[in-house]
C-alpha cells in the first residue's frame, strides 16, 4: 500500500472517527477496555439484533493508532453477521500478530498490516478487536 494513502486513511479516521460518543441505551452491550502496555482507555457499546451488528459506538482517550483502528473497524463491522464479525476479528488479530491471514475480508483494516514493525503499538491496534471480542463473549451469557 502507498505510504501516503495509508497515512491519510489513518489520520482521517483519527481526526474524525466514526461513531465517537456514547448514547444512553440499555439494549447495547458495553465494555471498557484499556491496553495493558499503554495508556489508551476507551469505552465501547454495541447493538446486535437478530444476529447482525446494528451499531458500535465508542468514546475515551487513545492514541492515533487505537482511535483510527476503532473507527475503521466500526465501519467494517456494522451491518455484518456475528459469525462474519468473528471471522474478521480473528483475521485482524492474526495480521497484527504476524500470522497467516485472509487479506480479502479485512478490506480497509489492511492499513495496519505493517504495524508489527512497531511492537509497542501492536496493542494499540488490537484494542478495538479486543473490545468487540469481549462484547461478543457477553452474548452467550
Amino acid at each position: 500500500m502507498d505510504e501516503n494513502l495509508r497515512r491519510e486513511i489513518i489520520l482521517d479516521n483519527y481526526q474524525e472517527p466514526m461513531n465517537r460518543g456514547l448514547i444512553s441505551d440499555d439494549s447495547y452491550l458495553k465494555v471498557n477496555t484499556s491496553s495493558e502496555s499503554c495508556i489508551d482507555n476507551l469505552d465501547f457499546m454495541m447493538k446486535i439484533e437478530e444476529g447482525i451488528v446494528k451499531d458500535i459506538r465508542f468514546d475515551g482517550e487513545a492514541c492515533a493508532i487505537s482511535t483510527s483502528a476503532t473507527s475503521i473497524m466500526i465501519r467494517s463491522l456494522i451491518g455484518k453477521k456475528v459469525e462474519d464479525v468473528k471471522e474478521i476479528l480473528s483475521n485482524y488479530q492474526k495480521m497484527i500478530n504476524e500470522e497467516e491471514y485472509n487479506k480479502e475480508i479485512l478490506e480497509e483494516l489492511n492499513v495496519y498490516d505493517t504495524i508489527c514493525k512497531q511492537p509497542n503499538r501492536k496493542n494499540c491496534a488490537l484494542l478495538p478487536s479486543v473490545a468487540v471480542s469481549k462484547m461478543l463473549g457477553e452474548l452467550g451469557k
Binding site: R6, R7, I10, L11, Y14, C38, I39, D40, N41, E61, A62, C63, A64, I65, T67, Q118, N120, R121, C124
Partner: protein
C-alpha cells in the same frame, strides 16, 4: 556532566525518562559484577573469606546511607524499593497504631504507592483518607496542608518531590508542624533523594523511603529509614530466615532487632552493594551541584520553548528537573512515539498519579525528567523536535 561514566549514552540516546528510572554508571555495575564474579556468598551466615568480605561490604552500605542523608545507620532498612518501604510503614506500623476514624492526609498528585496502601488500610481498619487541595500550579503548599488538618489528623504522607508536577514540598516546615501537633510524617523520597540534599535527622521526618534505581543504582533495592523508637514499634510484614532469633514447636519465637528483623530471606545483596557504590558516586559529584545543574537545564528548556505556540507546559514554576507537557491536540503517547523517532526517551501517561487528572483536568501528559548527565545539546534536540511537531503524524504513522 559526567557523561563519560554512562556507557548507555554512547548509543546516542537522549534520555529524559529519569523519573521512571536512571542510567547506570559503569562503576556501579562493576561493583555488583565484582560481587558476582569474585566473592558471591550469602550474608550473615558464612565464616569463609568471600562471605566475610560480602558481609563487610553489605553492612557498610548502612554507614554510607547514614552519611548520605544524615541518619543513624542502624535505622537503615534495605527493602526492594520505595513501594515496599511505604507498604512496610502502612501495614507494619500504621495498621497497629491507627484506629477507626483517624485521618491520613494525602494529596491527588501522589504516586499509587503512597495512595493504594492507605486505601487498603482504610478498608481494613476504617481510617479516613483525605486529600489536601493543590494550588493553581498543581503544587502542594504548606498553607493548604495546615488548613486541611483537623484534630483527627494522625498522619501526613507525601512525596518530597511529586513525580509529575515536580514541586519540591517544604518538608522542613511540614515536619516541624507535624512534630508540634503530634502528627506522624511519612515521606516518599523516590523523586527527591536522587536529586536534592536530604538531612533526615534535622527534618522531623518519621519515615523516609527511597529507591536505588532512580539514583543511578540497581533495580530491586531501596531503603526505609525511620526514627528508632518508631521502628522498634513497627512489625515485620515478611517473615523467614535471617530475621528471627529462634522459633519452637510451641509457636514461640523471637525476632531479631532493627534493622535485621525487617530483612527476611536472602536480600538483594549485589543490589545493596550497588546502592552503596551509587551513593558514593553521587556524593562525589555533590547533591547541591546536581540540583543546581538540573534547574539550569530546566530553565534553559523553558526559555527555548517560549515561542512554540502549540506546546502546553503544566508546571513551569516547579523547582525540579521535571517538565510535564503536551503538544496541543496530540495524545501524549503519540508525542512520545514521535520523540522516540529522534532517539529521545520520555514517558507518556498518568505516571501512576491517577488522581491528578481531577486537578489538572487532563489524564495523560508527556513527562520530561532530567538528570545531571543530560546536557544542553540534549535539550536543543528536544526543543527542535517539539518545534517541528506539526509533522508529528508524518513521523508517527
Amino acid at each position: 556532566m559526567n557523561r563519560e561514566d554512562f556507557p548507555m549514552l554512547e548509543s546516542g540516546v537522549i534520555y529524559f525518562d529519569n523519573g521512571a528510572t536512571t542510567l547506570k554508571p559503569k562503576s556501579v555495575v562493576d561493583a555488583m559484577n565484582k560481587y558476582y564474579l569474585e566473592h558471591t556468598s550469602n550474608i550473615h551466615r558464612g565464616d569463609y573469606d568471600a562471605a566475610i568480605k560480602t558481609n563487610e561490604l553489605y553492612d557498610n552500605v548502612r554507614n554510607i546511607v547514614g552519611e548520605f542523608i544524615n541518619c543513624d545507620p542502624t535505622t537503615c532498612i534495605f527493602t526492594s524499593g520505595t513501594t515496599m518501604s511505604l507498604n512496610m510503614v502502612v501495614f507494619g506500623y500504621m495498621k497497629k497504631h491507627l484506629k477507626k476514624g483517624d485521618e491520613v492526609l494525602l494529596n491527588k498528585a501522589e504516586h499509587a504507592s503512597n495512595v493504594l496502601p492507605w486505601i487498603k488500610l482504610s478498608e481494613e481498619i476504617g481510617i479516613i483518607v483525605k486529600y489536601v487541595p493543590l494550588d493553581d500550579d498543581y503544587e502542594l503548599t504548606f498553607d493548604n496542608i495546615v488548613k486541611s488538618v483537623t484534630e483527627k489528623t494522625k498522619v501526613i504522607s507525601l512525596a518530597h518531590i511529586s513525580n509529575v508536577v515536580g514541586d519540591v514540598r517544604d518538608i522542613k516546615s511540614i515536619g516541624e508542624f507535624c512534630h508540634k501537633n503530634n502528627i506522624l510524617f511519612n515521606v516518599d523520597g523516590a523523586q527527591s533523594i536522587p536529586h536534592i540534599k536530604m538531612d533526615f535527622k534535622n527534618s522531623n521526618i518519621d519515615f523516609l523511603s527511597f529507591s536505588g534505581h532512580k539514583m543511578c543504582g540497581p533495580t530491586g533495592v531501596g531503603v526505609l529509614v525511620g526514627k528508632r523508637e518508631l521502628l522498634e514499634e513497627m512489625e515485620a510484614i515478611i517473615f523467614g530466615g535471617g530475621m528471627n532469633s529462634y522459633f519452637e514447636e510451641d509457636n514461640s519465637y523471637e525476632l531479631k532487632t532493627v534493622p535485621t528483623k525487617f530483612e527476611a530471606g536472602t536480600t538483594a545483596i549485589a543490589e545493596v552493594i550497588g546502592l552503596g557504590a551509587t551513593i558514593k558516586y553521587l556524593m562525589g559529584i555533590g547533591m547541591d551541584k546536581i540540583h543546581e545543574y538540573e534547574i539550569l537545564l530546566k530553565n534553559y528548556f523553558l526559555d527555548a520553548v517560549k515561542d512554540i505556540p502549540n506546546l502546553i507546559i503544566y508546571n513551569k514554576n516547579s523547582d525540579s528537573g521535571i517538565v510535564a507537557l503536551n503538544v496541543d491536540g496530540v495524545f501524549a503517547q503519540d508525542t512520545s512515539v514521535y520523540l522516540n523517532h529522534y532517539k529521545i526517551a520520555v514517558r507518556a501517561g498518568n505516571h501512576c498519579a491517577k488522581m491528578l487528572k481531577d486537578e489538572i483536568k487532563i489524564k495523560n501528559t508527556v513527562r520530561v525528567s532530567m538528570y545531571f548527565y543530560n546536557n544542553y545539546e540534549d535539550i536543543d534536540k528536544l526543543v527542535e523536535a517539539l518545534r517541528n511537531s506539526k509533522d508529528i503524524f508524518k513521523v508517527v504513522l
